[in-house]
Point group: C2
Chain length 421, copies 2
C-alpha cells in the first residue's frame, strides 16, 4: 500500500466529515497569493502553499523552488510520477497528527496553511493539447439510437477503437467561470437555410479527464503498461455542448464550434495514486481488443458522479447520479491508442473521457440523453421543465470516490449560464 | 502602398534572381546562434539576427529585447500588427541600398547578417492551438465524389459553413524533419476485423496556414473586418494523412490519428503585408453567406503552389501545380467563423486551409485525388508508380507569389518518409 493512502492517517488540520479533501487526497492546484501564483495542495478547508512550504526546507531537498512559483502546475508535475509520489508522501507526513515539524512551527504554519475562503484558486493547468474520447458504451449507444439507427446504434469501429477527437485547448476554463450562451449556425431539419443565433440546445456533458506529466518523442508509441508513468492525475470535466450547432456542422469532420466555446474543469488535480483504493475491473470487452490495446491490472475507477441544476427559482436539484466505472475503454487504452501512431504526448495535456452514462436514465450524463433529445423533459422543483440548459441555470457537478474508510473527492465544477449578447 | 512593398526597392545584400526572399518579403523565423534562440528575418541567402540588430539600437526604441531573445516568434508577433508593420518597415530601410547605417557598420553587419548555411533554422512557433479547415471546393467535391455520392458530392452544410476541425498542435514539425511511417488500425472493406500495422496509404495534403498575433476574450466574436488585426502572416503547410487509418476511424467524430502523427510547416512566416500586391477576388459564393461571414475587400491571394516527389531513384519530379487563389472560403471568413461562438483565439495559433485543389487534375493537392484513390497511379521518372507516398520518398512543396516586379516566396517544406519500426 502507498503509505499516504493509509485510511488510518489523521491530520492535525481539521477536516470536516465528508470533505473531498482528507489527508489521503492531497491534490495539486494553483492559488494566487499577493498577486503571485503558487502551486498548492488542499486539505479540508485549507490550502497548503507549496512555494512557502518548500522554501522552508521541510519538503526536503528534491524540489526546485521554481516549479512551485509558477502560474500552473505543469512544471511541477513534469518532474515525473516518482517525484510527485514523493511530494505527496512528504506532505502527508507533515500533515499527519503524529508529526509535529509543521504543526508546531506557528509562523510557518500560518504562512503556508491558508483558509480556502481567503485565497483565490486559479486555473491549475496550462493545457497544451486537449483530446475528448467517446468511451462510454451507454452514451455512444444512446446517441447512436437517437441520431442514427436503434438496431445498429454502435458504429462498426466503436468496439475496436477508443474513438476520440481533438478539441480546443484555449477555451477550457475553471469551475466558477460563467459561460455566455454561444451563438452559431442553426438549421432545423425543415428549415431551408441556416440562421446565426444563440443555441437553443445548450447541454452539459458529464466527464472526467486525465492530465499527463511526461512526454514521448514524436514517432514513439506508448504501451498500456507504460501509460502509468504518463498519467499524473484526474479532474472533473464539463464539456459544454451546443447540440443544434453540432448537428448542422459535424458531418464529415466532427464536432467543432459546438464544443469550442467552453469546457469547465475542477480546480484540484487528484493524484492517480490517491485513487488506487478505488480501482475496479472494467466491463468485459468483446471482441477482444487488438494486442496494443490489451492491458494488465485494473484500470477502471469507482468514482461517483452527480449533476445538479440550480436556478434563481430553486435550490440545487440532483438530475444525474452516475459512475466513472462504467467506462468501456479505460485511460491506459485511451493513451496507448493516442500514441499508437507515434503522436507525441506533452506535459499538461488533458484527455477527457467523453460523456459518462450508466445503464439507467438517472445515470445518463447529458440533457440530450436525460430528456431523449428534448422529447421527455425533466421536471424541476419549481414546476418548470428543462429540455436543455436555460440562461441563469447553474450546472453543478460533483465527483468522489468513497468506501467505508475514506472519501477522495474532486470538489465541484460549477458554471452559471449567462444570456447571449 | 506599404513602403516596404515598393518593387523598386533594392538591397545592398545580394539577392539571387528568383529568390523567395527579396527585400520586399522580410519574413520572421527562429535561428539558433551559440546555442541560443533568436528571432530572425531573411533576405536572399542571409538571415538577419534581430536580437543582435535590436541591441545595436538601429531598430529604434520600440522593441523590447526580450521578444527577440526567444525560442519562438510568439512574443514578437504578439506585439501586434502595427508594431510588426513598423519592424518590417525599419528592417526594409536598413537593408535598402539607399541607406548606409547598417551597410557601413562592418562589425555589426557581420554579427547580424549571417549566411543561411552557417545557422540552424528552428521551429518558428510555439503553436498553441491548431485548426484545419476544409475550404477548397474542388477538394471537398473530389473527396465527396470518391467516398460518398458523385451526384451530391458537397454536403448540405459546406456552402454555408467554412467547415473545420480541431487538430493536434504537438505534432506539427519543421520542414526538414523526417517523418516515420505511422502505424494504426486498418480495416479494408472486406476484412472481418481490423489489424494494427503501418499505413499503406500515406499521403500529403498541400495546404497554407495562417498565424494569429492577437487574442480575444472568451465569449467575444470577431468580425471579418477585425480579422485583419489578428492575422500576422502565413506559412506553407503539409498536413500528412494516413488515408486507411482515417477511413476506419473518422465516423462520427472526424479525423484523429490519421492526422496527428505529423504536419510539416515552412520555416519563415511571411507577413501578410508582404502579400498585399497579390490579393485577388475569390470565387463567387452562392448562396450568399450569412451576414457574419460577409466581407469587404479582397481576401484571396494568388500564390503558386508546387509539389515534387524525390526518391533515391530519381530527382524531384513535379506532380502538382496549384494555387491558393482557388480557396472558396477565405481567411477572414475562416477566422470570423471560428470566433462566431466566442471561441478565444490565441497568439501563435495556426489555422490551416485544408487541402488546396484546383479545377484540373494537375492542381489536385493530395495523392488521394491525383491518383483517384489509387486507381490511377502516377508514373515517376524511373518508371515506378505511386499510388501513395513510399518509404524514402521526399515530398517537397514550394509556395510563391509572383508578378512582373517581385516574387514573395515561402521557401520550401521538405519531408523525407522513413520506414515504420
Amino acid at each position: 500500500m502507498i503509505r499516504a493512502n493509509d485510511p488510518k492517517l489523521k491530520s492535525w488540520v481539521p477536516v470536516p466529515e465528508n470533505s473531498d479533501f482528507p489527508i489521503q487526497n492531497l491534490p495539486l492546484g494553483i492559488i494566487k497569493v499577493n498577486d503571485k501564483h503558487h502551486v498548492a495542495s488542499r486539505i479540508g478547508d485549507y490550502v497548503i502553499d507549496l512555494a512557502v512550504l518548500n522554501r522552508s526546507g521541510l519538503l526536503g531537498v528534491d524540489f526546485v523552488q521554481r516549479v512551485f512559483e509558477s502560474e500552473h502546475i505543469n512544471d511541477c508535475i513534469g518532474l515525473g510520477k516518482s517525484l510527485m509520489r514523493d511530494l505527496r508522501s512528504r506532505l502527508s507526513r507533515l500533515l499527519d497528527d503524529k508529526h509535529t515539524d509543521l504543526a508546531s512551527d506557528e509562523d510557518l504554519r500560518k504562512r503556508c496553511l491558508i483558509p480556502i475562503r481567503d485565497v483565490e484558486v486559479c486555473m491549475p493547468l496550462d493545457i497544451r493539447n486537449y483530446t475528448d474520447f467517446y468511451s462510454s458504451i451507454e452514451h455512444a449507444t444512446n446517441v447512436g439510437t437517437m441520431f442514427r439507427d436503434p438496431e445498429n446504434a454502435l458504429l462498426p469501429n466503436w468496439k475496436h477503437i477508443p474513438i476520440g477527437y481533438h478539441g480546443r485547448a484555449s477555451s477550457i476554463i475553471l469551475s466558477g467561470t460563467p459561460v455566455k450562451r454561444p451563438k452559431g449556425q442553426l438549421k432545423g431539419k425543415d428549415d431551408a437555410v441556416p440562421v446565426y443565433g444563440p443555441t437553443k440546445q445548450l447541454d452539459f456533458e458529464l466527464e472526467m479527464a486525465f492530465v499527463t506529466c511526461k512526454s514521448n518523442d514524436l514517432g514513439n508509441t506508448i504501451s498500456t503498461d507504460e501509460t502509468e508513468e504518463y498519467i499524473f492525475g484526474m479532474v472533473l470535466f464539463n464539456d459544454w455542448s451546443a447540440r443544434d450547432i453540432q448537428s448542422w456542422e459535424y458531418v464529415p469532420l466532427g464536432p467543432f464550434l459546438a464544443k469550442s466555446f467552453a469546457s469547465s474543469i475542477s480546480a484540484w488535480v487528484v493524484n492517480l495514486d490517491a485513487l488506487k483504493p478505488f480501482r475496479v475491473e472494467g466491463p468485459t470487452q468483446d471482441p477482444k481488443p487488438l494486442p496494443y490495446l490489451q492491458f494488465t491490472g485494473q484500470h477502471n475507477y469507482d468514482i461517483c458522479l452527480d449533476v445538479y441544476i440550480e436556478s434563481p427559482m430553486f435550490i440545487p436539484a440532483k438530475i444525474v447520479h452516475s459512475n466513472y466505472k462504467y467506462m468501456y475503454w479505460n485511460m491506459a487504452q485511451q493513451l496507448a491508442h493516442h500514441a499508437s501512431n507515434g503522436c507525441n504526448i506533452q506535459v499538461g495535456d488533458l484527455y477527457a473521457s467523453g460523456t459518462i452514462s450508466g445503464p439507467i436514465r438517472d445515470s445518463f450524463g447529458s440533457m440530450l440523453e436525460l430528456t431523449w433529445r428534448g422529447t421527455d423533459p425533466i421536471k424541476m422543483p419549481d414546476g418548470s421543465e428543462r429540455k436543455f440548459i436555460q440562461d441563469r441555470d447553474k450546472v453543478i457537478m460533483h465527483a468522489y470516490a468513497k468506501n467505508d474508510d475514506v472519501r477522495i473527492g474532486f470538489g465541484e465544477v460549477i458554471t452559471e449560464i449567462k444570456p447571449a449578447d
